[in-house]
Symmetry: D2
């Protein structure tokens, strides 16, 4: 693991997710740019001191030198955004598979470099978009792919938070500080942090691609260098329309990621804060309340579920699905298979960065619609 | 009453709303452009045959000729949109106050003529935006006006229906037919029918005015002459941002008008389908679930409520608030008072039409932002 | 109308309900035992002074002496409970149909006298249990009657309020005072006020009869002469089991009447505070969210609905269904028909009183089960 | 671990819960009474063959013989109920701490033997009641303990499932079979399986003790030897009243454990299926929607939470709280501390068994109230 020292939020989530199914063991880490803190974090995690590295390059070199059955099998990147690319490049260069937090990089150009390096390395790469790994999101995607909604016409995806409604970044709050600092977060705040999740979710569940964007990004709290709120109108490749709302200044909201998709025949509604319920709405019939853990769900949802219906699963379980599936992909790779895992990967990385760059350009432009170029 | 013959939806609502508080009696009507149907509707309503008029002009002339204590005291206009102006003009000309269904007219130019005629007549005019008359919408407006939310930063208003997800207008469905016919509905379908409600609600509750619009209107079901779906980005006069979603093709949705407002200090959420609950969200504190009928509500909400908490009131009661208040305004007028009622009136009519015309122009334009000129 | 002077809650509800559909006109009343207040209430309701009577006997005599097309056609009784019997007897004696608030009387013996007088009079009698008149309660009853749930196994009905969590009756609160006064309310407080509604709802929706009761009534707030909380275990005539919870000391609850019924094949859940939704739950399938106002509902629900789906109807509309149907029954009666209306009537009155008396006896007894004798 | 072979539900939950925080490692097991299946389960869990034992006695003997830093530190018992006692006794006898699934034993007499053995052994014992380990259940308990609700007056606890609405036990369904078999489940089905959870939750959150019970247990599905449904009226030691509903035949319900507590000053409502929300209801004020993960929560809730607000935690996380705290208790024990952990333990085991036996006796008796003797 690179990143995830004390005080970090997402590093701890990655570790819990990795542990849940008992298939993955944390064996080493460069948890902080401060070697002392890295060592302290490793100690707290009961790692041998020798494998608590002062920096990621040292780690990759050292681990690459270990016998195959001892060295780490893949690296999880959980640093602030600006380090995603250099760490990933170094990992690939040393032969390690990469599981990276999102966004993949801080620019589309960086992401293209990553894609090229990945191709050259022949290794595995996945991006942690955990929301798409919830059982009922997979059910939604499966139903849409099976045609249950008919042609998709309208998509409304929202990711609404309120934790940045005050200038938290000026209080020394670690999470807020780097997320609103262009040097570490990249050129977008809110859209880079949560807008890309919403974008990935919308494309993933519908199986459609966004082709045009109209966008307004806002810096609501005075003094911010990056957006903390924004809206994008979307046009999809099948002619469907969409709206993406992302906000971190909607005071009182927690982590309100919601998705609504309407087709010719039916509509779907899912809310991350109550992730075990999926509403299916139909014309002239009562809406159905799909619930996780039931035998009537399709295989994609069932394989992503650990408990019987009514025993709520949450964010860690969704995240753990990514880890479990990445671990399976690594095992398959080591067994000689070369099929890419069905996880968000470099394609989603490229599309996410293209979305961000187009959104930034569109927001700055007086023209309404802007083409989202499919990245090569 | 003009309009509201059999098969009409909104006419029956107006009549129930008018009756609820026992202050208004329906005394005459021109319920249909077909004199036979008008008479039949009047009979079913136990009106004397003599006051079931074949057309509205005949009615205004005849009623104006009755002694003051016998003639109708105001007219309710519940026709398709294209008749709102001529009926209102004729009513005012004959000295009758007007309570009109929305939108006020089919164009801003028509609305300006209405405004001029109204000024000249000295009569009362109100527009039936019932959603703003729900007790908890009034509570929301009162709290915002009192500063409880602080400066407003973000407004999300949605009005989402699914009943036009199929080409219902080609099946002889009366409501669908005129609403999608430019000759009767005016230049907008979805936005003219429900978008203006959302717009009025957002401005009314926040006390802000929209100054700029970015808009996309869609004709989703093939063959339609008018929009059946659309989204507008909004900029308000205090710098706040907003999004307005309106749709009639969101299959499975019923009448999902929702409003979310976020200020510096707190946020509000209200859903028309469960109108007796209002959520107030705050940073660092639990959200509060405000419920209609409680003594802790402000006077505006309490005066708009008829029942103790937990006894749900609905759409008819909200609508009846408009009638009750218009009746009070008529009584005050007849007692010599000349203060305008606190109901949506010609100002809201003008703003609504300006919104519609700007939205149509903005949707057709490649430019992103379009100024919503404050109507004179 | 007898009762319903200023400060009364239920009288105003009756009047709104009566007015809503334009089929009933309030023509006279004895609104208070205080003739001054009766006259004042009548004035406020725009009644002619001559028909604002000082007491109910005077009213019945005077109205009975009017020509048939002038006199009142039925009487609504909205007094405190202890007057229900004498007023109803007097009304029947003078030839008037009776629409009475619940409970029918203050004892089973009184109720038997009422039943005998009713039989002798040949007039119509109905009891205002408005909750059973909600569209989706009727849908629930229709589905159960049609066998959709299979054999009923379990019924959970709750009526939970919190408004009497403090000794409100000692503050001069009019509603609280008479409801907790044995001389006016009868021998039961909470069960007499709201428990009978829950009981009627359970029997009505399931079509079953309770045959045995185990009961505990509590006087939670010190100093009360009547119960303010209680629970009854129920056994039904088909072998099903049930639980009835009623409480007026559950602080913070408003009017939380809920019904859950489980059969062999499916279950139902309905909540009065959100009355336009009915959940149908099935084994191995998603629950269905039935919504009022939809074309997929059965005729009983549709006839009880005034608005399209998504336009919430509430308590007044449910109550108005009773008035509309009683008015239809009166018209049919006057046209010579002698079929009883499908409304709660003397049978429900007798069963309600038998339930109350059995519950009181059971609560006082050390024995668990007590037979609920079917009233003759 | 004893029990938890393939096909078992709760064994897998225990393992996930144990792994989540990285403080516990599964080192050995006797997973099935069939040595082959035990070995297969161990293999699937990557245990060395030598530590996959054919039976629990062999395991305890072998592990007790290992050096202190190699042998297992405590045993988790996840077998059917009838084995809880013998396994626990054997474990204690060999010096192992015990974390046992509930119910502790199949009779109060067995439980007293367990208590005696535990006292003699000086080891640690905890019982997995995971519902009381949800963050917001702990918040509820803390608020009640702090007096926020005032004197408790009323408790309604429900545990409603539908999975046994059909005779699943006759289809070879493993979970259903043993739970309805008196030889393996003990003398109660539904109450033993889920009623004890509801009982423990009610006592735990309120800090009160039940002193009297009135109970009806039902065997709804024909042919069953054990109850599959039941209700108990409760009296608490402070004079409060309560109702406990448990059912496994409420078709369509999943795992609907809910708790409502009303005091003089406020009420609380919590629902396990949406465990991250807690409603606090007050007289004359809006209800508050408490949400997990917020800084406004007390320390008990915060220590039981892993994620920021809006990132749902679920059943596994609640269960993991028990494991984490038991691990801490074991570490403290080994460091020489002798304070009992704040987890459900032998006291709750004894009370649970006393509740079950009293409920069974009360259900069979014609008398209403039965004393729940505080176990010595």
């Amino acid at each position: 693991m690179v990143g995830g020292g004390e005080g970090a939020f997402i590093g701890a989530v990655h570790r819990q997710a990795a542990r849940l199914d008992g298939e993955i063991e944390l064996v080493c880490g460069a948890f902080s740019s401060d070697p002392e803190r890295s060592a302290a974090t490793g100690r707290a995690l009961s790692l041998p001191a020798a494998r608590c590295y002062p920096d990621y390059l040292t780690m990759f070199r050292a681990e690459a030198g270990l016998p195959a059955d001892e060295r780490m099998q893949f690296v999880a990147i959980v640093t602030p955004n600006h380090l995603h690319l250099p760490v990933a490049l170094a990992a690939l260069e040393h032969g390690f598979h990469v599981l990276s937090d999102k966004p993949a990089t801080v620019s589309l150009e960086e992401c293209r470099r990553l894609a090229a390096a990945l191709r050259a390395s022949g290794r595995l790469y996945a991006l942690t978009h955990p929301y798409a790994a919830y059982p009922l999101v997979r059910e939604a995607a499966a139903r849409i792919a099976a045609g249950e909604l008919g042609t998709i016409r309208k998509v409304v995806v929202e990711y609404v938070q309120g934790w940045l409604a005050t200038p938290l970044e000026r209080t020394g709050h670690k999470q807020a500080s780097w997320r609103l600092d262009p040097a570490r977060a990249g050129p977008s705040g809110c859209f880079g942090d949560i807008g890309v999740h919403a974008f990935q979710l919308a494309e993933h569940v519908t199986g459609l691609e966004v082709t045009e964007i109209c966008c307004e990004l806002n810096r609501v709290v005075p003094g911010r260098a990056l957006d903390d709120d924004g809206t994008a109108l979307l046009r999809f490749d099948n002619g469907a329309h969409g709206v993406l709302l992302a906000s971190q200044i909607s005071v009182g909201e927690e982590n309100a990621l919601t998705l609504r998709v309407y087709g010719e025949a039916a509509g779907l509604e899912w809310r991350q804060e109550e992730p075990n319920t999926l509403l299916v709405k139909r014309d002239g019939r009562p809406a159905e309340r799909i619930r996780a853990g039931n035998a009537y769900l399709g295989p994609a949802a069932q394989q992503a579920t650990r408990l019987p219906a009514g025993h709520p699963e949450g964010y860690i379980e969704a995240f753990a699905n990514l880890y479990r599936e990445f671990a399976a992909a690594v095992r398959a790779f080591e067994a000689g298979e070369r099929t890419a895992p069905a996880l968000p990967g470099i394609r989603e990385a490229l599309r996410g960065m293209a979305f961000l760059e187009t959104a930034l350009a569109a927001s700055a432009s007086p023209a309404k619609w802007h083409r989202l170029e499919a990245p090569a």
